[in-house]
Amino acid sequence: MKAYAARRLASAALVAVGVTVGTFLLLHVEPGDPARLVLGEHASPSEVAALRHQWGLDRSLPHQFVRFLGDLAHGNLGTSYVDKVPAATLIEQRAGLTLALVVTATLFSVLITVPLAAAAAARRDRPVDHAVRGLSVFGLGLPAFWFGIVLIELLAVRSHVFPVGGWGSSVQDHLRGLVLPGLTAAFGIVPILVRSLRVGMIEVLDADFVATVRAKGIGERRVLFAHVARNALVPTLTLLGINVAFLVGSTVVVEQVFALNGLGSLLLRSITDRDFPVVQSVTLVMAAAVVVVNLLTDLVAARLDPRIRLG
């Protein structure tokens, strides 16, 4: 187990480094001058040059990258060009919301996936199964922002059950404000999870050991939950881990649709404004989060299924 964990940790670190370098290169390769954007159209070339110098943008790319890594090693994520506060402050202010959103979305996706997949697997090829599979194909093609707007229209604008956007100030408001966005984000990954879990459960249901268990006279309910689920769970858990990356990415769109001030909308805004330090920092934080989640799911899966850590 230890060897497996060590291997996974090493590759996780490599991924984080790769994301950082890739983001840096992409940012600096694309056209657009943050100094110009901040100073406006009336700024003279010398004013723009002075600001670029202040931000170190007039140095060579390798120099800038080394400087960024150096700052990072000291825990300095840089200062926002636009808001002129440390990027770390902006991230701190917003991370809680995105974390809550991702957790909510994950919860919703599990709560929706398990019953649907179980129902479909248990009643294979019957109407329930077809309905679930059909819905899941439909869901695969569903654009998140459209679905979110429909939810807002039906459940917020017309019936005031949930707020139209934002997440308010009290804990109660927060919870209410996360329901629709959480559902929207969850629906992005539910179709794939349902299909995966359904297939996994069917495979297991057909397995010999299940026939044995049934022959022993154990009730269908126990067969499903005690035996089938655990075995079908592992591939789905891995898939969930991968999909958390998708969830984190989808916060960029979902937060826009619901006017949530999280890391996703910060990232989008910073890219448009060419706010390099903030883009770097947010990407790094998101990448780190995704990597950690994947690491954890891999470790849990390895714990559940010895074949993974020994193979």
Binding site: E30, P31, G32, D33, P34, R36, L37, L39, G40, E41, H42, A43, S44, E47, L51, V82, D83, K84, V85, L90, Q93, R94, I149, I152, E153, A156, V157, H160, P163, V164, G165, G166, Q256, V257, F258, A259, N261, S265, L266, L268, R269, T272, D273, R274
Partner: protein, 532 residues
């Protein structure tokens, strides 16, 4: 800008400045009686103002800071102008109105202005406004090398306080736009020396003479609450207890919040949503004339567009009515003169070339490119309206044998490209920050002194430039009007750019709200607003 439907999501380079300006002549009178009604949809609701309540206002851009001398984006400007006020402001009709000053005297040589301060004005902490505060604030703004609008104070050589209630401004030369310049939001008045605090401390808890105050300002907030200033110099105002700005940069979400009753007012309504909002029984839509023009710009560094006949041919071929119909859903007016109708000294009689395909072809035949050519049109891809414009223009130029490729870039890349002259044609908007037309005239015509080489077109007509500079020093309104009429006609005939349309500011307002109006610079004062 209000019509930024589908702008690059999130922070946009809304170069909007609320401004005040001089208006000797009421050129706020716009074509059509319906304009007057649209300008103030809610003043028609008679009734005594009710005191109290919190106005909830959905805004597309959040403020990053509150220093008037350093502000340029809409988020900053339309927040700090509730806290800091200048000596003069621009009314919703576009007229210069005495504000912290009650009037002024000007010397015979027009180089010395003496402003008389309004008696009894206090800052929100109770300290009285004095001439020293005015001198400090405007000196600070004009001497700020990083200030985006410090160029507007360029005519001032020095300021001095005369006693506690008079301020003398010395100018380098007679400068007709001066009163207008003085009223820009960047010249808002703060206490001298920040009332003893450090600059950073001061702007976290700013003190101004304005109707509202802010405590504990933090940038990157989702919302900001402004409280009523009990020491405000207009007795009985503001009527509201507080204003809550909610910053929602996604257009759809903001409109939904308005419809769902989460906010009373929303700025920047996409033109496509105007009809459905008008149909809602609890809402109205305000279309406010703006000092704004959308332009198709020709790069005269390119041989094709250095040729006047080519530019005129293209201008003849563009049907602006069709453009407006396709892209603005009936909210904008088709373009003509490069001055918008709401701007002082707009000349109604300015020639409009076209639309006429026959004349376009005749004009092209006189050029060196009579058989047509291939060209590219650069646009900010995030703005839906310009995508539509580009497609319509592409169609309209085909019969001339001009093959247009649309080059859509994201906002920052777009700005970088045209500012480097890396374009053949491009579309963007031009605005005037103040009521005096000199800003637009210089920026777009004075290739050397205007600051942008004639809006990045390189248009160089010495006759037009001479007229612009003459108008800057002309104080007689009649003569000045004639000069600007000549300039507009020259530009119309030379066609360095094609004014495509005049977009209005579009606001969605709940019927509960009274007294809300927006001036042509995009600024709205909130001390007159009350909730029914």
């Amino acid at each position: 800008m209000s019509n930024l439907y589908d702008k690059p999501l999130s922070r946009r380079d809304l170069v909007r400045y609320g401004a005040a300006g001089a208006a000797v002549v009421t050129l706020g009178s716009l074509p059509g009686v319906s304009r007057a009604a649209a300008r103030r949809p809610l003043d028609a609701l008679a009734g005594t103002p009710k005191h109290g309540g919190t106005l909830k206002f959905g805004r597309s851009v959040a403020p990053t800071q509150l220093d008037p001398a350093n502000s340029i984006i809409a988020g900053d400007v339309y927040t700090l102008d509730k806290i800091f006020e200048p000596l003069y402001i621009t009314s919703p009709a576009g007229k210069l109105t005495p504000w912290l000053a009650t009037g002024y005297d000007v010397s015979k040589d027009r180089k010395t202005f003496t402003f008389h301060l309004r008696p009894g004005v206090k800052f929100s902490d109770g300290t009285p406004l004095t001439a020293a505060d005015v001198v400090f604030s405007i000196d600070r703004a004009r001497k700020n090398s990083k200030g985006p609008l410090s160029f507007l104070d360029g005519a001032i050589t020095s300021l001095e306080a005369k006693g506690t209630s008079d301020v003398i401004a010395h100018l380098s030369a007679p400068w007709a736009p001066f009163l207008s310049d003085i009223s820009v939001f960047a010249n808002g008045i703060l206490p001298a020396n920040f009332g003893g605090k450090t600059e950073a401390e001061f702007f976290a808890n700013p003190i101004g003479t304005g109707p509202f105050t802010v405590s504990g300002f933090k940038s990157d907030a989702t919302s900001l609450t402004l409280k009523r200033n009990p020491n405000y110099w207009q007795a009985g105002k503001p009527y509201l207890d507080a204003v809550e700005f909610d910053f929602v940069d996604n257009d759809n979400q903001r409109v939904l919040q308005l419809r769902g009753g989460q906010v009373h007012i929303s700025d920047s309504i996409p033109p496509a949503q105007v009809a459905s909002l008008k149909a809602a029984s609890n809402l109205t839509v305000g279309l406010y004339p703006a000092w704004e023009v959308d332009l198709l710009v020709f790069n005269e560094q390119d041989a094709k567009y250095a040729d006047r006949h080519v530019r005129r041919a293209i201008t003849y071929a563009i049907d602006r009515n069709a453009l407006v119909h396709a892209a603005s859903f009936g909210t904008a007016k088709p373009g003509g003169s490069f001055f918008p109708p709401s701007l002082q000294y707009y000349a109604k009689g300015t020639s409009i070339l076209g639309p006429s395909l026959a004349k376009a072809k005749a004009e092209l035949a006189k050029s060196s490119f009579a058989t047509g050519f291939k060209t590219s049109l650069l646009i900010d891809g995030g703005v839906q309206k310009w995508r539509t414009f580009a497609q319509v223009i592409q169609q309209q130029l085909k019969p001339l044998g001009i093959d247009v490729t649309i080059r859509a870039l994201d906002h920052a890349a777009f700005e970088a490209a045209f500012q480097k002259y890396d374009y053949e044609l491009f579309i963007d908007y031009a605005i005037n920050d103040i009521s005096d037309p000199d800003e637009m005239a210089s920026f777009e015509v004075d290739v050397k002194n205007g600051g942008s080489k004639s809006y990045w077109s390189n248009y160089d007509n010495p006759k037009a430039i001479a007229l612009v500079r003459k108008a800057q020093a002309e104080f007689d309104p009649g003569k000045r009007a004639k000069l600007y009429a000549q300039i507009q006609e020259l530009v119309a005939q030379d066609a360095p750019f094609v004014p495509l349309d005049y977009p209005p500011y579009i606001y969605g307002v709940s019927k509960q709200v009274n007294g809300f109006a927006v001036n042509p610079g995009g600024a709205y004062r909130l001390e007159d607003v009350w909730l029914a």
